[in-house]
Assembly symmetry: C2
Homo-oligomer: 178 residues x 2
DNA sequence: CGATTTAAAGACCAATTGGTCTATATATCA
DNA sequence: TGATATATAGACCAATTGGTCTTTAAATCG
């Protein structure tokens, strides 16, 4: 997963994968079939990790606003400095392959949908707790947040400082939270 | 430019470039040096186009809020349906190369800076015109908008409907404009 | 027109691509 | 131990990569 993550699909060659998996050529093909299948497995793992992380951060038993803060803080962490420069396998894959590769496209689309649903849910709970600013509607606010964090990952490629990202996130949250 | 745009750098092979430029192999190398230089030219053109478009949309002689609306409407257009699926050369390049290729990285970073400056400027003018919501600070709001529109391009890869994107953009603008 | 520059076509190159296969070594197990 | 299954290393493959070079055709210009 790591090697696809930091180089992208096309730029990752078989020798890279052999080094990363410490497998011989034969064993790798026996285990995974081909490069494309291996990539799909890596992508699936990346997605699963991201979703379970969100399930922890946005756990319904937590204070919803705290959850959203934790969720956004995670993005601040992953999009500033060296972490930011490394980028995001999902966004990179979306841009590189989602248009051409149907199997990839489906995964990307369903991930965004799942993410949006979780955020919308947290926002709903925040609203019933009276913590949402007036006029904020959970479902459209969730779409905004999803776009925003994915955009953070793009801009994060230029390795902004943590304080910058943090301030941006806080300014955004200020518009939605009471 | 078009062929890099719709396929990305690594996935674009010489034959694709020859077909797109209608040049012979020799002439192409005489004119541009190599694939990388040609790509840089394409990227520069893409960036120049984007910035002049913004200069029109956010023209200081226009009503700043109208300008921001036009700017965002352009993104709605480019990120929904087939346009969305096609993606954005800049975002794709940021994810594919910005981390590894210094020449590309500089261009990406300076583009985001330039875009943010233009948006911040428009927001400043909107504020002096009394059109900004209370507590909105132009510079951080500009960073938010930049992240948001770049995120739109990412999510746009899943080809959302125009109405969805439109509604999301309006909901966001509602939080910033009085 | 003929001479000269310019560009096209495509042969050619070494290196690399993803992928297969065989020979060898290493476990595993009776 | 000896037989068998498993995984390794790496030779090997055709196709493709980015890039060069030569030959031929098309403009250009006096």
């Amino acid at each position: 997963m790591d090697v696809f993550w930091s180089r992208g699909y096309h730029a990752t060659a078989l020798p890279d994968l052999l080094r990363a998996t410490k497998l011989s050529r034969g064993s790798l093909y026996a285990a995974f079939g081909d490069k494309h299948s291996l990539f799909l497995r890596a992508l699936d793992r990346y997605i699963a990790d991201a979703l379970t992380r969100m399930d922890v951060e946005l756990d319904p038993r937590r204070e919803p606003v705290d959850g959203l803060r934790a969720y956004l803080a995670g993005y601040v962490d992953r999009t500033s400095g060296a972490n930011g420069r490394r980028g995001c396998l999902l966004v990179a894959t979306a841009m590189e392959l989602a248009g051409q590769d149907a199997e990839v496209g489906r995964r990307i689309a369903s991930f965004f949908k799942a993410m949006e649903a979780r955020v919308a849910d947290a926002l709903s709970r925040a609203r019933t707790a009276g913590k949402l600013a007036d006029g904020v509607e959970p479902s459209s606010a969730a779409r905004i947040l999803v776009c925003f964090v994915e955009g953070l990952r793009v801009v994060g490629k230029t390795a902004p400082t943590r304080t910058t990202s943090q301030a941006t996130v806080e300014a955004l949250l200020d518009r939605f939270i009471k």
